[in-house]
C-alpha cells in the first residue's frame, strides 16, 4: 500500500481514469506528513521467520534455539506439576492434588471411557494422557509472557505426536485382529463390490496418509497462526502508538484491545487443540478396534 502511495501519478496517468485514488493517497500522505516528514516509520509485520530463530548453542551437535528451550521448560513444568501433585497422595485430596486429579479424570472419563469403553480406555489411557498434557503444556507457552511462542509451533513436536498416534492406532487394530482392521479400513461393509475400485484407494489414502498429516497440520498451524496474529496485533500497537503517535494512537488502542481478546482466545485454542488431538487419537483407536462399522 504505502509503496504505492509514493509513486502513483506517473504510473497511473496513462489509463485516463479520473485521478481520484492518487489524490486520496496524497491527502493521506499529507496527513501523515508531520510525523513522517524525513523518514517514514516502517511497519514490520510478522513473518514465517519467527519460527526459525537464531541458534543459541549446540548440544551434542544438535543446534538449540529459543523454541527448543521453551519446549524443555514446558516439559520440566509438566514433570514438576505431576511430580508435586502426585507425590503424597491423600484420600482426601488437597487443593493442588485435586486440580491434578481433575485433569487426569477429564482425560480418563471424557476422552478415554466415552469413546473406547472402560476396558480399552484402561489400555490406552497412558498414551492419551501423555498426548493431552504434553500438547497442553507446550501450547500454553504461546501466551505466557516472555516465552510468547508455543513449543508446538515448530513441526517437530506435532509430527512426533502424530507419528506416535499413527503407530498406536495401527498397533491397536493389528493386535485386535489384522484381518478385521484392514477389512474395516479398506473395504467398508455395505458397499456393492464394484464401488471398491473407487472406495478402497480413497480409504487407503484417508486412513494411512491424511490422518497423520492432518493431525500434524492442525496443531502446528493453529499454534503458528495464533502466534502470528498476536504478533501482528502487538506490532501494530507498537507501530501506531510509538512510531506514529498523535491521533494514530487511537488505532493503537484498538489493536491493543484486540491483542488482549486474542490472547484469551489463544488460551481457549491451546486447551481445545490438546483436547482435539487426544480425542482424535481415541477416535482412531476406536475405529481400529471396532468389530464392524
Amino acid at each position: 500500500m504505502r509503496s504505492d502511495a509514493h509513486r502513483p501519478s506517473s504510473q497511473r496517468s496513462f489509463t485516463g481514469a479520473p485521478k481520484l485514488e492518487p489524490a486520496l493517497f496524497t491527502e493521506l500522505a499529507t496527513l501523515i506528513a508531520p510525523t513522517a516528514a524525513d523518514a517514514p516509520p516502517e511497519f514490520h509485520g510478522p513473518s514465517i521467520e519467527e519460527f526459525f530463530p537464531e541458534v543459541l548453542f549446540e548440544l551434542a551437535g544438535v543446534p538449540i534455539h529459543r523454541i527448543h528451550l521453551i519446549q524443555f521448560l514446558a516439559t520440566l513444568a509438566l514433570v514438576l506439576v505431576f511430580w508435586l501433585g502426585t507425590r503424597r497422595m491423600k484420600v482426601v485430596p488437597g487443593r493442588f492434588q485435586s486440580l491434578v486429579e481433575m485433569g487426569l479424570d477429564f482425560v480418563r472419563v471424557n476422552i478415554g471411557e466415552d469413546l473406547l469403553g472402560k476396558k480399552d480406555a484402561q489400555r490406552f489411557l497412558p498414551i492419551l494422557t501423555t498426548i493431552f498434557f504434553m500438547v497442553l503444556f507446550m501450547n500454553i507457552t504461546g501466551i505466557i509472557p516472555f516465552l510468547n511462542i508455543a513449543g508446538t509451533s515448530i513441526i517437530a513436536v506435532p509430527l512426533t505426536l502424530a507419528i506416535v498416534s499413527y503407530i498406536t492406532f495401527i498397533y491397536a487394530g493389528i493386535k485386535k485382529s489384522p484381518k478385521n482392521f484392514f477389512k474395516n479400513s479398506l473395504f467398508p461393509s455395505g458397499v456393492p463390490w464394484p464401488i471398491y475400485i473407487i472406495v478402497t484407494p480413497i480409504e487407503l489414502i484417508s486412513t494411512f496418509v491424511i490422518r497423520p498429516v492432518t493431525l500434524t497440520l492442525r496443531l502446528l498451524m493453529n499454534m503458528m497462526v495464533g502466534h502470528l496474529l498476536l504478533v501482528l496485533f502487538f506490532a501494530a500497537t507498537q507501530f501506531f502508538i510509538i512510531d506514529m503517535g498523535g491521533w494514530w494512537s487511537a488505532l493503537g488502542a484498538g489493536s491493543l484491545a484486540f491483542g488482549f481478546v486474542f490472547t484469551l482466545f489463544e488460551i481457549l485454542v491451546a486447551v481445545l487443540q490438546a483436547y482435539v488431538f487426544a480425542l482424535l487419537t481415541a477416535v482412531y483407536i476406536q475405529l481400529a478396534v471396532a468389530e464392524e462399522h
Binding site: T15, T214, L217, R218, L220, N222, L279, L280
Partner: protein, 78 residues
C-alpha cells in the same frame, strides 16, 4: 480502469488471497456443524454431552481443510 490494469497493480503474495478463498469452505462447514449441534441439543438436551464430543470431532475434521490452506500458502507462496 479495466481489469488487466487492476490486476497489474496487485503486488505482494497472492497466497493471502488464496487462503481467503480456502477459508470459505471450512467456515461454512464449521457453521453447519455447530448449528446442527445446537439444534440437536435443543431437541434433546439430555444428549448434550455426547453431541458436543461429536461436534468437536466434526469441527476438527472440517477445519483441517483451512489449515491445509494455510500450509499450502506457506509452502508454495514463497
Amino acid at each position: 480502469m479495466d481489469a488487466t490494469t487492476v490486476l497489474a497493480e496487485v503486488n505482494g503474495s497472492i497466497a493471502t488471497v488464496g487462503y481467503g478463498l480456502a477459508a470459505i469452505g471450512p467456515a461454512i462447514g464449521v457453521g453447519i456443524v455447530v448449528g446442527k449441534t445446537i439444534e440437536g441439543v435443543a431437541r434433546q438436551p439430555e444428549l448434550a454431552g455426547r453431541l458436543q464430543v461429536l461436534m468437536w470431532i466434526g469441527i476438527a475434521f472440517t477445519e483441517a481443510l483451512a489449515f491445509i490452506g494455510i500450509a499450502t500458502g506457506f509452502i508454495f507462496g514463497f
